[in-house]
């Protein structure tokens, strides 16, 4: 059953990527492009639904998202896709579709292929803290993935506007709208990620104490970089009004740091 769900979800993600891709390449057929984007969005919704069912089926088999980093990543990418769908409707973010569909697919594949992987040396401690940490970190990663996508889009649109490069007749996305959206996403994600860090620290301290930080120095530093980057976005905007390109780059730094944490955990397990 789970295998069937996995295959269906993977096909839906693949179909969505393809439809969005077709929409992007048909520069002169706006009708066709809109049609392709509509299909891309529909397939992405279907993929997210099937992805959710796959996660559910894995949980029934005992492969829950708290078991290892791959399963948590699968949940995080599912969350990012789930968040993207309503955002795309309200903010004309179809250009982000060709990124979000493959991201969902990668998360799904990682979650299923490596579901049996052990999480490496476990930290003894309160399971509630561990659950809270993994849940919050997954939600944070989903948010950062979305925010990074929006920031990337902002940088592309801003560069085109500055260099005066336009596809004739194609309406553009609003620069201010993208900037506002990335700020709101960071505003939402930063507290969640802060809580993820706090619960993680408490979990480690309750388990094997300060000593175990040494073995996780890379993840700790990367986590702090991500946290500082996201907090900087909020603070500099509030104090000096910093926005736009600077915020977008800081957002991408935060996402890169989080990605490094995931890769590090993956390699370790």
């Amino acid at each position: 059953m789970m295998l069937l769900l996995f295959i269906a979800a993977a096909l839906a993600y693949g179909g969505s990527s393809f439809a969005y891709g077709v929409g992007r390449t048909r520069e002169r057929q706006l009708e066709g492009e809109r049609h392709a984007d509509d299909w891309g969005r529909r397939l992405l919704v279907l993929a997210a639904l099937l992805h959710f069912c796959t996660i559910g089926a894995q949980c029934v088999h005992g492969d829950h998202p708290l078991k290892n980093i791959f399963l948590a990543t699968s949940v995080a990418t599912w969350g990012a896709v789930l968040g993207y769908v309503p955002l795309a409707r309200h903010h004309r973010l179809d250009a982000l579709g060709p990124v979000m569909a493959p991201v969902g697919l990668v998360g799904l594949v990682l979650g299923v292929l490596f579901s049996a992987t052990e999480s490496g040396p476990t930290i003894p401690g309160a399971p509630a803290l561990a659950s809270a940490h993994v849940t919050l970190a997954s939600a944070g990663m989903a948010g950062f993935t979305l925010a990074a996508g929006v920031s990337g889009l902002y940088l592309v649109v801003e560069r085109r506007l500055r260099n005066k490069v336009f596809v004739p007749g194609r309406p553009g996305m609003s620069l201010t709208g993208l900037d506002r959206l990335q700020h709101r996403l960071v505003l939402l994600v930063t507290p969640v990620f802060t809580l993820a860090i706090v619960t993680g620290v408490l979990w480690i301290l309750e388990g094997s104490g300060v000593e175990s930080f040494r073995g996780r120095l890379f993840e700790v530093v990367a986590g702090l970089i991500a946290w500082f980057a996201s907090v900087s976005i909020l603070v500099t905007r509030a104090v000096w009004g910093t926005r736009g390109r600077q915020s977008a780059w800081l957002n991408l730094v935060a996402f890169a740091a989080i990605l490094l944490i995931v890769v590090s955990y993956g390699v370790r397990s």
Binding site: R28, L30, E31, V157, L161, R162, K164, F166, P168, G169, R170, G172, M173, S174, L175, T176, G177, W240, G241, T242, R243, G244, R245, Q246
Partner: protein, 457 residues
Amino acid sequence: MTELVALGLNHKSAPVELRERLAVGADDLGRVLEELRRHTWLHEVMLVSTCNRVEIYGVAAREIPPAAPLVELARLQSIDPGALEGHVFARTQADAARHIFRVASSLESMVVGEPQILGQVKTAYSKAKEGGAIGPVLDRCVSLAIKCAKRVRSETEIARGSASVPSVAVDLATRIFGELVGCTVLIVGAGDMAEQAAVHLRAAGASELVVVNRSTDRGEALAQKIGGRYEAWDRLEAQLVRADVVVTSTGAKMPVIDRSMMKPVMKMRRHRPLFLVDIAVPRDVDPAVSQTDHVYLYNVDDLQGIVHDNMRLRAGEAERADAVVDEEVQEFLAWMSSRSLGPLIAKLQHHGNAVVDAEIKRALKRLPGLSEEQRAVVDKLGRVIMQKLLHRPISNLRRANGEGVGQFDGPALAEALSTLFELDSGEPTPPTAARGDVRPQSAAIPEPTPVPRPEPS
């Protein structure tokens, strides 16, 4: 025979001085349409009068002198018909239909793809309909032309991209700010282009317009004209802090906005994006300003470059639009053609009925002992045979109008049928739908030939 005509003058054939003299205001339209129907052969008529064209679309029951309605219009507008000579065009049937479809689809417009013409055609159509000047042919023709225009707009990119410098400025502002509601526009200088841009930005939703100009009188006059407010020249920097979009068009020899001015301005703006449109020559904004973060500077060449790209895109789409027009024109011509078969089919059935009546009468004379019931059977037998015999030729004739039957097209079959059954007793024969221009645009205007229509009893 029904004759569809399209005639008039437009931006391609006549100068604006002539167009504006012949133009008919909305208030006079009803009266002019009535006069045209009364004094020409046109029994269906509509008039499209815009700044770029004055065109009459009509339907006549017979072939008419092509310029007669225009001469009548010239008379109504108190213009010497000779003044129109060499500036008018006249098209009939397929060419007339194609012209009407192309006009509605904005393929005949000065700016190809502009959206206003469709609304103007719709208005002209509804005015004519209100005045009872629209009959079945124009109704079908204009309805299909409107449908065609919608198809052209949705199936091609003919209307994509802005086609003027002010509308490109609005488009770019939208790319930066999304909706312009709540945006403040600062006009630096009182040039014509700045005024046009301000009007476009206001129409796009900009909430506040501020004019800064060296000359107070001109600045205040412009502010009043565009519904904004005037600020003195020494308030320029303060206004730059507030504005979202700045349009400059002063006659200054040196830049009035430079990078050293923009740095503190951007700091005070807390890095809110600023869109600068410099349409002055020589330029009002130092090009180095574009290196400042969150400042997007476009000069007149940049804007004209975008207009040029958009127009090139539209020109490329005109071919695809023509294909759509062809399809819709064919549909209309097929309808026209099938409509014209009515009289021929009626004559054929009348002829059949006459033969059946005569033969039944003769047969019944030879059978005097028949009861009423038996006579009815004989009568029915004759009519059923006639109907069955004529059914296939009539269906094939109708089909031939659309797709042809064997090597024959509709008009050829209609003519053959007329000849074989000797149906041409002075009655009109079905016309061929496609005929060309009546004459070239430079043709002379003939003398008016007013033909009074009988008043309805």
